[in-house]
């Protein structure tokens, strides 16, 4: 990473620490904000956050690897999480999943080479009555069918916008 980038990131982390606090309880909110801005929590971030909160980097690492929504590896701008739990399964999630695989050319757990889409499984997202359901970033889509997959992907950018500043402001308000 370039020094200027590092400086900028450091500045952002300092700001987040001001907003969320210096205690350990601020750790997860800080990481969530970084995750939504950068689609990953980098090595550098973990060490700076650890330093600011006076904990060990390995503790940050332990937390990041515990929660599904925090990742050390880079995620795409659009993270698509398909619910795989029973009700959505019975409602036909396999067909939707297959279409997503084909249209994106990646398997679950992977990110497209242009860094735009990441495909993941989700455990029950609370839309069991309207399955198959999936999340695209923070947005929920229900009654998804294989035919709709193409339109959803095409509309991603237009409808939802990249998962950055706008949703941040909501977070930090």
């Amino acid at each position: 990473m370039l020094t200027t980038q590092q400086d900028r990131l450091m500045g952002e982390i300092n700001e987040l620490v001001e907003v969320h606090g210096h205690d350990r309880s601020a750790l997860i909110p800080i990481l969530q904000d970084i995750q939504s801005r950068y689609h990953a929590i980098s090595d550098f971030t973990m060490q700076v956050v650890a330093d600011r909160l006076e904990i060990h980097p390995v503790e940050v690492f332990g937390v990041v690897t515990f929660y599904s929504f925090l990742n050390e590896k880079h995620h795409g701008h659009f993270v698509i999480r398909v619910c795989r739990t029973i009700s959505c399964d019975m409602a036909g999630k396999d067909a939707v999943a297959q279409q997503l695989r084909s249209d994106l050319g990646i398997d679950f757990g992977e990110t497209t080479s242009d860094g735009r889409f990441t495909l993941e499984w989700a455990n029950c997202i609370g839309m069991c009555d309207q399955g198959p359901a999936m999340l695209v970033n923070d947005h929920v889509l229900t009654h998804v069918t294989p035919e709709r997959v193409h339109d959803i992907l095409a509309a991603c950018e237009k409808t939802f916008g990249p998962h950055t500043p706008q949703s941040d402001e909501e977070h930090t308000l």
Binding site: D43, M46, Q47, P57, V58, F61, G62, F66
Partner: protein
């Protein structure tokens, strides 16, 4: 003796409610009725079921529980049935606050324990006969205790993890890990280094370093405390016995071994002796029989360290107090614990100027063996293999530091832990407790009692004070402290502070250091303030106190030891460890010191005849002189905590 190194509340990182059992009792003396198996008794409120059972001699198996560490309650091996509860309860984590009835080995309990062991084995890759914990493994004992005769839930056929051998000191084989998390609690709570933590979740949970980097690349201080508390063979010290045997077997090589005081107080445990059975003189014979050419006493250089470090302290005091020169600031920190040295290099690099430039006794000895000793005996230093028997895994890292080659060779070729030596002795077919006694070899001979107590927390301080007091007052320490036992600095309190009054009457400056200070007038009536910390969690407390300008910042001299209890609790000592075992080893060490006095031998470093001879024959420009600076002093690397 309460060992305050057992996980202390204020440094413990475990969530509050996992460790302090908050007891809503009117008075501390409140008791509660417990019925456990056939026993009925009253116990203090808040006692855990496990503690109560142990008091009564009822055996409940455990795995994740350790006396030094806060409660985890994760392995579930210690389950018992509490009447009225649907689920079984982990006895280690169940504080009794109401009258209860407990059954410790019902069918349900036995079946659950057996299943848990079966489950652990289904993920455990390792063959006992090729494992260093064979016969001393808590998992193996459990399997035996519960009669495991087949793998109910399968057994891995091949290893899942690569063994991490990147560290000079600690080898991690996660294939044998049972995820009891003792190492995490050791590293984060007890030692406050924070190298290990659980990563991932569910079946993917592992014990991980930061980003799963090799241990050699993270901030590990090599203290080995995690090894001593691991129930299995997942953690071990790097084994050097093959190299040492190879040297012994090579007739060209002159193999010498120096032995530190703590292994002698601990090695008996490897041979079924009670903890605290001293083995010094028997071990000398065993070492000779193993084939070492010479057996030396590290205490010789412990004494030498006292002279060098004591002189350095006097110089620092003189410069700071008289000459207003703060280039070498106070307080001076000891430097003999390599775990502590690496700790400060990582976490408080800005304080490195406080660290004494003296090498540790091990490294001083190494430098002298390949110079003075080689010259005296006409041996080519290239043919000397210098081995150090240490209670410590960090010494393995230390001897590999690039700075440690001042003799022109690697000053110490191999560090062996107590456990490795026990292995060698067994391999040579020697029954240690049955050995006849023999003395150390010359020219270093037998050291003083001060050297011996280096092994215990407070020992370096006591040894240094014995010499400094005599230097300055010109009187015997015995005039101030009975039998020269400086009790105020002894004990197991995690952080200790003591003040010593220097009398108004001072003596002449001894010849050895006359060229360094003109007189003692400037010390008349002064108060010498000293501090002691053992276990890096306590070291951290002291460092934070200094940073905040607390009382430790006013100290003149502070002893730091990385390991709980000092070297006697080192990461290379026999397993298991507990507060009681460490206390027993400490008793052995102080008894050896006292025995020196009873036998009329020297107990103060500056009385060591071999040390005096060294200064007159070899280090002719005296303590902290040019030559000793070259061979006996070193410098440090500001490493910082950033993990590259």
């Amino acid at each position: 003796m309460k060992d305050t190194n057992a996980c202390a509340d204020d440094t413990c990182r475990a969530p509050v409610s996992q460790r302090t059992q908050v007891v809503d009792a009117p008075g501390t003396s409140a008791t509660v009725k417990l019925k456990i198996d056939d026993h009925e008794l009253n116990i203090p409120m808040g006692t855990t079921i496990l503690e109560a059972a142990r008091e009564l001699g009822i055996h409940i198996p455990t795995l994740c529980h350790h006396d030094d560490l806060c409660v985890a309650g994760v392995c579930r091996v210690c389950l018992v049935e509490v009447e009225g509860q649907n689920t079984l309860q982990a006895s280690c984590a169940y504080p009794i606050t109401q009258p209860i009835t407990v059954k410790t080995h019902t069918r349900k309990v036995r079946q659950a324990r057996r299943h848990i062991i079966d489950l652990l084995l289904s993920k455990h890759y390792g063959e006992c006969y090729s494992c260093f914990r064979n016969n001393n493994c808590e998992l193996q004992s459990l399997a035996k205790e519960y009669g495991v005769d087949f793998f109910r839930f399968g057994h891995p056929e091949k290893p899942l993890y690569e063994v991490d051998r990147s560290s000079y000191s600690v080898v991690r084989d996660m294939n044998k890990c049972v995820l009891c998390r003792r190492c995490i609690r050791t590293c984060i709570d007890l030692q406050e280094v924070g190298v290990l933590e659980a990563a991932g979740r569910s079946d993917g949970t592992t014990i991980s370093t930061y980003l799963d980097k090799p241990l050699g690349e993270v901030v590990c201080i090599n203290c080995g405390q995690c090894i001593n508390r691991c129930p299995t063979g997942a953690l071990r010290a790097k084994d050097r016995t093959d190299d040492v045997w190879a040297a012994i077997d090579n007739p060209e090589k002159h193999v010498v071994i120096q032995t530190a005081p703590s292994p002698r107080a601990g090695i008996g445990e490897e041979f079924n002796q009670e903890p605290g059975t001293p083995m010094t003189w028997k071990m000398n014979t065993a070492l000779k029989r193993c084939g070492f050419d010479k057996v030396f006493d590290t205490n010789f250089t412990a004494d030498l360290t006292i002279i060098e470090e004591g002189t350095e302290l006097i110089l620092r005091l003189y410069k700071n107090l008289v000459q207003s020169d703060s280039s070498q600031p106070l307080p001076q920190f000891t430097s003999c614990s390599p775990g502590w040295v690496k700790y400060i290099e990582h976490f408080y690099p800005e304080y490195l100027p406080h660290v004494s430039t003296c090498k540790s006794p091990q490294q001083m000895f190494g430098a002298l063996i390949k110079t003075w000793y080689a010259r005296m005996n006409n041996i080519d230093p290239a043919n000397i293999v210098s081995v150090a028997l240490m209670p410590c895994s960090a010494k393995k890292f230390e001897c590999n530091r690039p700075e440690m080659r001042d003799s022109g060779y690697k000053d110490v070729d191999n560090g062996l832990t107590t456990r490795e030596l026990a292995q060698m002795i067994r391999e040579a077919g020697i029954d240690l407790p049955e050995m006849p006694k023999s003395d150390f070899d010359n020219p270093f001979g037998t050291a003083t009692g001060s050297g011996v107590i280096f092994g215990s927390t407070g020992g370096v301080m006591e040894a240094a004070l014995r010499s400094v007091i005599e230097f300055v007052t010109g009187k015997k320490v015995e005039n101030f402290y009975d039998h020269a036992n400086i009790i105020p600095v002894r004990g197991f309190e995690g952080c200790r502070y003591a003040e010593l009054q220097i009398p108004d009457e001072v003596g002449p400056v001894p010849e050895l250091i006359q060229h360094l200070v003109p007189n003692w007038d400037w010390l008349k009536g002064a108060t010498l303030k000293v501090g002691i910390a053992h276990g890096t969690a306590n070291a951290k407390k002291v460092m934070e106190n200094i940073k905040a300008g607390g009382k430790f910042s006013e100290c003149h001299f502070i002893e730091f030891m990385a390991c709980p209890g000092g070297c006697l609790g080192g990461g290379g000592q026999p397993i298991p460890t507990s507060p009681e075992i460490r206390a027993a080893r400490a008793r052995a060490i102080y008894a050896e010191d006292a025995a020196y006095g009873d036998a009329g031998k020297a107990r103060k470093s500056h009385e060591n005849p071999a040390v005096l001879r060294l200064y007159s024959e070899f280090l002719t420009n005296g303590p902290c002189g040019h030559k000793s600076h070259h061979l006996l002093h070193t410098h440090y690397t500001a490493r910082g905590k950033y993990i590259g």
